[in-house]
Amino acid sequence: MKAFEYGDQEISSAQMAITIASILIDVGILTLPREVAEVTESSDGWISIAATGLIAIACAWFIGKLAIRVGTKGLYDYSASIITRPLAFMFMLGLSAYFLLFSAYEVRSIANTAKQYLFEETPAEVIALIFLLVVAYAVSGTRIGLIRLNVLFLPMVIVIAFVVMGLSYSIFHLGDLKPFFITDWKQITNGMKRSEYPFLGFETVLIYISIMNKPKDAPKAAVLGVVVPLLLYLLMYMVTVGVFSNASLRQIKYPTLELAKEVHVPGEFFERFESMLFTIWLLTVFNTMSMAFDCAVYCLSALFRKVKRTTWVVMLCPLIYLICMEPQDNVDFDRLGRLVCDFANVFAYAVPILILLLSLLRRRKSHAP
């Protein structure tokens, strides 16, 4: 039946903020406490996380400003008008490579974690494949459907995160947080570098600005979308330090899941809560990955307009799968994560901010409605 359109095809700024928050909350938080505790002392890692968060908020603000200028014109066309078409081509290509690497990292991370916590025998390849196929199914639907999924799943994820943190009050020792402020600046900076990954993702506002119905609110939405995960990360970090203490936190691979393993659910209804937490967490990782995949498809289809969306999805799936199966062990996997951060720093932050500065310098009129 021919579709009849009078429903919404645009997203509000609240939905944009929720989308960005949902993209930010992904596999990063599962290992963030350990990563930061490894280089800081006591509970001072919160300074690193807060500092990275503030930088992310500032970046989000600037990228939001750029997004207003991009407007409905499309990122490729707008950047071509600022930095000439060949450079814009490279930029979009780099951006799509970044999104593809991001997706691959997410899939592999899920496969690793699921293999450790949910499955014994099932091969990690199969887990990754299933997850990738479900994401591909989602991305081959409508773009606005993906945004709606974000809005649907994020409340569940935040609620379960708070439930886990709240239920751990019985094993939480305030004394484990002390002493405060004993770490030096070098360690804090190290911690900041390690906490970059959980804050990646707000650059997608550049791509979804075209379907926002109030583009002027993009910076506000982007900032709000970073603030919520920042608070969650800080809380989670403090809770894990209080429960495990810095000394053993450094050694626990997935502190968030171990926290869920330890909580005592009143009524003894569930024993190992981490399976429940992890399955709910799959929802937000699914969201992150589907948005990243969709952004990659958007970037590539902006460059090669003749190719249909479903064709892109079918072509990119094997590529993502191969990338995600390439790391052989944990060390390689960390390398992939750092590669993702490096790509992000260049293509998702440096170049857009550069474009923004250039556009300010040239005082080009913005094409925002």
Binding site: F4, G7, F119, A138, G141, G145, E271
Partner: protein
């Protein structure tokens, strides 16, 4: 091969044209004999066709009365049509002039219409009207005389409620429209009729309230109804399946109900109703996921009770879909998640059971579906027995024989009861279908499979539209105003706006100007 295709289409076209019947617009002949002959030939002189020829007036103009026995109200035809005409002995006109006089001064029936073509008159005769033709007049008179046997108004069986009106629609369109009119006395209530079906020429009526409904919705619905080109629209189910946005989805995109209060409530919310002659089930569109959890009873009870009942329905929907899958995944994959004591007792209970939990679950679910289908077909007293026999005896026997574990029986029973707790039958059956898919996913990958299946269902829901409105409204897109009637059923005095999802022109429906 291409030639075959090409010819196949051409052949199909001519066959269609042949089946279409005579080209419309053949005018009635002025000669009475010719008209009657045409009628007899076209209908092939069935023996329930009554043609009464008589003479009217002092000029002895031949008249004929044509109707189908069984469809007409005999008394009306005799008393209101035949009697005054036969007793009329005035006027010296003939032909059309006489027909005019008859129309204005003689006939005592209140439903009169003029008809000029043969096809219209045949359609009217076959619908139960009486045709009055005069020799010398090229038009005929149609007297409304429908009087077949209809069912008495009774409570709908599939949607009985504790408190509220106990009237349901019947198969007669006129009765149904009268039921709606009695509930809404608004001058803006519109009933637009279309005839659908080449051979059945069934009346399909669109009901809406003009200044509430979104202006683009009705034309779209009419466009979709126009695309129906079948022999017979056998029931509202056919119409529903044709005009729905997608036939691939298991979820109901159009609501069907037998209750007039549900329909009138929907009309006042800004939706449209479609009633099909011959089917007591009316269609309500557009709907979203929220409609699947609402029942008219919610509005007749206290808001607190209704809210808790709705929460219960959500829990029931969740259990009806996920419980067997969760059972499978907890018992086959994630033994650590069950509390220790329970795990040991379940392991002890399953010691002698030959089948793995997966096979057990599928077996029991299929058995339950069989019982359910059997219970539907059997006459009432035996149907009840089957329910009890099936539930208690077979379950007990299976457990005693050691084929299934008792926990499986509990899970299956709770699942079945939960699916009966949902007010919308079409939604319940779609959940039944999904349940098996999720069970399959759970049996291969455990909880991971369950959550992947859940994500896939959500992806599907989020991309679904019912007449332009996203199906997952008001969950997302989030309309805060609509949440007053979603899970919470706000007290009556707070429901002052129509649901935002219908995008009605006139959203205010309640004013709190006077002090209570």
């Amino acid at each position: 091969m291409f030639k075959q295709l090409f010819f196949r289409r051409a052949i199909a076209r001519t066959a269609q044209a042949a089946a279409a019947g005579p080209a419309p617009g053949r005018p009635l002949s002025a000669s009475l004999k010719e008209t009657l002959e045409a009628i007899r030939t076209t209908l092939h002189a069935p023996n329930d066709l009554i043609i009464r020829e008589f003479i009217v007036g002092s000029v002895n103009c031949p008249f004929a009365l044509v109707c189908i026995d069984g469809l007409v109200d005999n008394n009306l035809v005799n008393e209101q049509v035949l009697k005054p005409l036969i007793h009329y002995c005035g006027a010296d006109e003939t032909g059309s002039a006489l027909l005019n006089t008859v129309e204005c001064e003689v006939l005592t029936s209140f439903e009169l219409d003029r008809v000029a073509t043969l096809d219209d008159s045949l359609l009217a005769i076959l619908s139960g009207d009486t045709l009055l033709v005069a020799d010398g007049a090229a038009t005929g008179l149609l007297v409304g005389s429908r009087g077949w046997k209809t069912r008495a108004l009774e409570e709908p069986q599939t949607e009985s409620i504790i408190r509220g009106p106990r009237i349901g629609f019947t198969e007669d369109l006129r009765t149904n429209t009268s039921l709606l009119r009695r509930r809404i006395r608004d001058t803006n209530l519109r009933f637009d009729i279309q005839r659908i079906g080449r051979r059945s020429r069934r009346e399909v009526m669109i009901a809406y309230i003009d200044d509430i409904v979104h202006p683009a919705l009705v034309p779209e619905l009419k466009r979709r109804l126009d695309t129906i080109d079948m022999d017979d629209v056998e029931g509202s189910g056919y119409v529903e399946q044709w005009i729905a946005d997608s036939f691939l989805t298991p979820f109901p995109l159009i609501l069907n109900t037998e209750r007039p209060d549900k329909v009138s409530g929907a009309l006042l919310q800004g939706r449209i109703a479609v009633l099909v002659d011959g089917d007591p089930f009316a269609l309500v569109l557009p709907i979203t996921l929220s409609s699947c959890f609402q029942s008219p009873e919610d509005y007749y009870q206290h808001w607190l009770i209704s809210t808790l009942t709705r929460i219960l329905r959500l829990v029931a929907a969740f259990m009806a879909t996920f419980l067997p899958a969760l059972y499978i995944s907890l018992l086959e994959f994630h033994h650590g998640m069950i509390p220790s004591r329970l795990a040991f007792s379940i392991a002890g209970a399953r010691e002698g059971v030959p089948f793995p939990a997966v096979i057990e679950a599928f077996m029991m679910e299929i058995t339950l579906e069989l019982l359910r289908e059997a219970g539907l077909r059997l006459p009432k007293p035996i149907g009840q027995t089957i329910g009890i026999v099936g539930g208690l005896v077979i379950g007990e026997a299976a457990v005693a024989a050691g084929i299934v574990s008792p926990i499986m029986v509990i899970v299956v029973a709770v699942t079945a009861i939960s699916s009966f707790a949902l007010p919308s039958y079409s939604f319940a059956i779609s959940l039944r279908m999904l349940r098996f898919g999720i069970m399959l996913a759970a049996s291969v990958w455990g909880l991971f499979g369950v959550i992947m299946a859940y994500i896939m269902i959500n992806v599907h829901l989020v991309n679904l539209k019912s007449f332009g409105i996203p199906y997952s409204t008001p969950f997302v897109p989030f309309f805060a105003r609509d949440w007053k009637d979603l899970i919470l059923r706000a007290p009556v005095i707070f429901m002052d706006f129509r649901p935002k999802l219908t995008q009605s022109l006139n959203p205010v429906r309640l004013r709190r100007t006077k002090k209570r």
